[in-house]
Each structure stands twice: as structure tokens, then as C-alpha cells.
């Protein structure tokens, strides 16, 4: 076994962590597990596919940047995908979750999110078919990094970008009024109102940020693996594992949880075989729920 699993694990884990932030935000602010969150990832990936195609058509034949297998069209499509997925999350809240919140219990919301997930996934399959799609068909060549480790420029770029986003998100949560408001609403919505916070506005911000980060995750996943309508749904279990491992409701917890799950999955390949890789997230989730249900950063409520 060499240390290559660290690169693979960090890459996968960074994407899981980014995706899990929205899941944990929705849970902490609205107190329900949103099973439709994976669809924001898939939709983000496909929105970027359309946007990059459109931008490429306007800018002319796109050229790859350096050793990367993509050019400016995909980079410019990234914020479009983030915005699109964020708006999709907001719209889903407006037409479905907000109405149910006013009269239903959190289990009603969870079941509704299952339904929404199915509908959004089916729509994506209808629009784009089941066939895998790629932003680029160029081959990403892995470069030696020393110590026997290899990574492609795409992988390093994606990893660096995901880590920068995580740090930014951490700064937003700890240094900005928006971050404090999100933490305040998740702790005690009535007290947040008494502190003059527009709780409905904070909930909209949580959807926009969580959906947006999921959309970015979709693009990063589409770039390093492939685009499929089920890509987000397939990531749901690692996302939940990361959120619960970090302590549901904790943004830094979700990020760290994602990295741990990613590393654990990657480590499992040389140890127990690739066929059991998917079970690792489930085992970590199970162990965490049994040993420390509040997670690494969670607080008992």
C-alpha cells in the first residue's frame, strides 16, 4: 500500500465535505434531513454542462488552461451552476417545504424530500438520459508529485478550489453577521427574532448557500468523475455520514467529516477491496451514531 489513497481520499472527501455543508445547514436551521439535497448536486453538474456549452459557443472553441482538461467556459459556468442549484433549493423550499413547515412535522418534510428527490432525478433523466456525460473528453494525465504519489492537474485544481471554498465558508460562519445569524437561528429561532434577525431571510440564505455549494460539488464531481443523473443521490450516504460524523448542524464538522469519510473510503480500497468501498461511509455512520451520536463538533440539545 502506498500513500496514493491520501490524494484520492482528500479529493473525494473535499467534495463530500462541500456537499455536506448544505445538508447540515438545512438540518440545523429547519430541523429536517433533506433527502433531495443530492439532486442539487446533480442539477448543478448538468446546469454547468449547459452553461459551459453556451459560453463555449459564444467564446469560440474553448482552449484548455495549462495542463487542465477544461478551459474558461467551465470556470465561468461554475458560478452559474452554483446560482442555479441555489435557486433550485430556494424554489423547492418555496413551493414545498415552507408550506409543509407551517403545518406538518419534520417527518412530513423528510418524506416530502424523498418525493422531491425522485421527481428532480427523474426530470434530469428525462432531459439528459441515463448516459454519462463529460465536460471534456480530453485525458487528464496524472503527474508525479514525489513520494510515489500522482495526481492530475484537474484533481489538484479541484482539491485546491474545494479547500479554498471550505476556508471561505468557515470565515463566513465565524466572522460575518450572516454566519452568526445562521448559527443563532439554528440554536434558537425565537431568540434570533428577538435579536432583530429576519429568520425567514436567514432560512433563504441557508438554502441559497447550501444549494449553491451542492451545485459546485456537482461541477467538481462531474469534472473529476462524470455526470450522471444519479450522481448526487449516490453521494447522499457519504454526505449524511459526513454531516453526522462532524456533528449535525456544524459547518466545520461537515467539512472535517467529509474529509474523514473520503480518506476512510479511499483507505478501504487497498485494505478490503474496492467492492466494499461504499460500505465504509455506512459503517462510519453507524459507529458514530452508536458511540457519539452528537458527532465530533455537535452539541447535545
Amino acid at each position: 500500500m502506498n500513500g496514493q489513497f491520501v490524494i484520492d481520499g482528500l479529493l473525494n472527501g473535499a467534495m463530500i465535505g462541500l456537499g455536506a455543508i448544505g445538508l447540515t445547514l438545512a438540518y440545523s436551521v429547519l430541523r429536517f434531513a433533506n433527502f433531495a439535497h443530492g439532486e442539487f448536486i446533480s442539477w448543478g453538474g448538468y446546469i454547468a454542462l449547459l452553461a459551459a456549452g453556451g459560453i463555449g459557443a459564444v467564446l469560440g472553441q474553448p482552449k484548455d488552461i495549462g495542463n487542465l482538461t477544461f478551459g474558461w467556459p467551465l470556470i465561468l459556468a461554475l458560478p452559474v451552476a452554483a446560482l442555479g442549484a441555489g435557486v433550485l433549493a430556494l424554489a423547492l423550499d418555496a413551493v414545498l417545504f415552507r408550506r409543509l413547515r407551517q403545518k406538518g412535522s419534520s417527518i412530513t418534510l423528510v418524506i416530502a424530500s424523498f418525493g422531491a428527490s425522485l421527481a428532480l432525478r427523474s426530470l434530469l433523466e428525462f432531459l439528459f438520459s441515463d448516459d454519462p456525460r463529460y465536460y471534456s473528453t480530453d485525458i487528464a494525465i496524472a503527474m508525479p508529485l514525489g513520494l510515489g504519489l500522482r495526481a492530475s492537474a484537474d484533481q489538484l485544481g479541484v482539491l485546491g478550489f474545494a479547500l479554498v471554498l471550505m476556508v471561505l465558508m468557515h470565515l463566513v460562519m465565524t466572522r460575518s453577521r450572516l454566519g452568526w445569524s445562521l448559527r443563532a437561528v439554528s440554536e434558537n429561532a425565537d431568540l434570533a427574532r428577538l435579536a432583530g434577525i429576519d429568520v425567514a431571510g436567514v432560512i433563504r440564505a441557508a438554502w441559497l448557500i447550501g444549494g449553491g455549494l451542492a451545485g459546485v460539488t456537482g461541477v467538481l464531481l462531474g469534472q473529476t468523475v462524470q455526470l450522471r443523473p444519479t450522481m448526487g443521490f449516490d453521494l447522499l450516504l457519504p454526505l449524511f455520514s459526513a454531516a453526522i460524523l462532524g456533528g449535525i448542524g456544524s459547518v466545520p464538522g461537515a467539512m472535517l467529516g467529509g474529509l474523514i469519510i473520503g480518506l476512510a473510503e479511499a483507505l478501504s480500497v487497498p485494505l478490503i477491496g474496492a467492492e466494499y468501498r461504499a460500505a465504509v461511509a455506512f459503517l462510519v455512520l453507524l459507529a458514530m451514531l452508536l458511540v457519539r451520536p452528537t458527532g465530533l463538533f455537535g452539541v447535545r440539545t
Partner: protein, 245 residues
Amino acid sequence: MGVTALALETRDLVAGYEPDLPIVRGASIRVARGEIVLLLGPNGAGKSTLVKAIAGLVPVSAGEILADGASIAGVPTHRLIRRGLAFVPQTDNVFTGLSVRENLVLAAGLLPVAQRGQRVKEMLTLFPDLARLAAQAAGRLSGGQRQMLAIARALVVGPRLLMLDEPSAGLSPLLVGTVMAKLSEIRGQGVTILMVEQNARAALPIADRAYVLVEGRVAHEGPAAGLFDDPAVAALYLGGRPRAA
């Protein structure tokens, strides 16, 4: 008491968490500017529900709430705070996951940017204990320190009317005295105070007037001084029903 001097008034207010189960059942109270008014009464009388309804946290099904003469029933809580009303709940009244300073800065966010830092500084001067704990998580404060932070959090935006729900609950007699003295000092700065308080003996000395609520209605009102000398009030406060007039 002229109408223009009224800071707050409720008229035949009916409120409760469930529309068909009102807890406040037609309560009418008046608070003049600069007063400290107490809401007393036995457990379950609807005192807390009344102040929560005024703060927009409990649905109002009938009656009126007027602040400085304008109707505020149905106005969302965060907008009431912008209009100069503040409320300190009895429990869960600070953000435990935020530091003392973050609690204050967050609440000060309603002020113009240039004033925020100054107001937070003023609160830390008013509550010197909090100043040395500014960086500490509010969840690690003692009961008394939390109560001070909760009051400071409510005051940081400079409200005209401060409502408190049992500010002495769970505090030692010494701390209760400190809280009451602080509230008296705050009133001295022109803030009107409406306070629910079980510990009437501690609160009456700083109060101007008091209402005794029984079963969701005002059963007695009068000056705070000598309130307990009235045998009817003593009976009400001990859980009795209002006598027929």
C-alpha cells in the same frame, strides 16, 4: 396618565399557542413611558404568554396591542425590535454557541454600522462582569452572568420598552438584588420596563405599578407600594380566584 404618555397598551387581548385554547383571555394593561410595571399572579395565570404575545412570539386571536399608540398585533418580532421593543425570555435567552461579544454584536446589527461598536462598548461598561468574559462562549456563563448578558443583548439597540420574563428565576438572593438594581438604573436612562416576576418581594421595591393576572385576565391593578397590604391581592397572588365585586 394621558394617552400620549402611554408606551404600551393591550386591550382585551386574547392569545395562546392554539386558537381554541387561549391562555390570555381578555387582558388589558397600560404601561406609561418611564414606568416599571410588574405582572404578578399565580402559576398558569398567563403572565409569560401575555409578554410573549406582545413580543409577537405567541399568536393573538383577539384584542389589540398598541405601542406608542400604533397597533403592533401581527407585526413580526424582528420588526418590533426595530421599532424599539425588546424582550428577555426567562430561559434560553442567550446564544450559547456564540461568545459574549458575538451575542452583543449580532443584536447590535440593527444599528447603523458606525454606532455598533460604541453601543457594544457601552453595554460592556454597564455590565463590567461581561467585559472580562467578552471572548467566552455564552454557554459557559453562570446563571447570573447569562441573565446580565440577556439584558445587555436586549438593550444594545437602545430600546424604548424592555420586557422581561422572570429575570430573577434561578438566581441567588444577592444576584436578584443586583439584577433589580440594574433594571432600576436602566429605567433611569429612560427605558420603560414591563416585567413578569414571581419574586414579587424583590421586584416591588423598584416598580411603580403592578397588575395581578389570574386565569388570563387582570384581577387587580394598583401602585406597587403597599400592594401586599391589600388582603385581596395577597389572596389572588397565592392562587385564589378574584372575589366578586
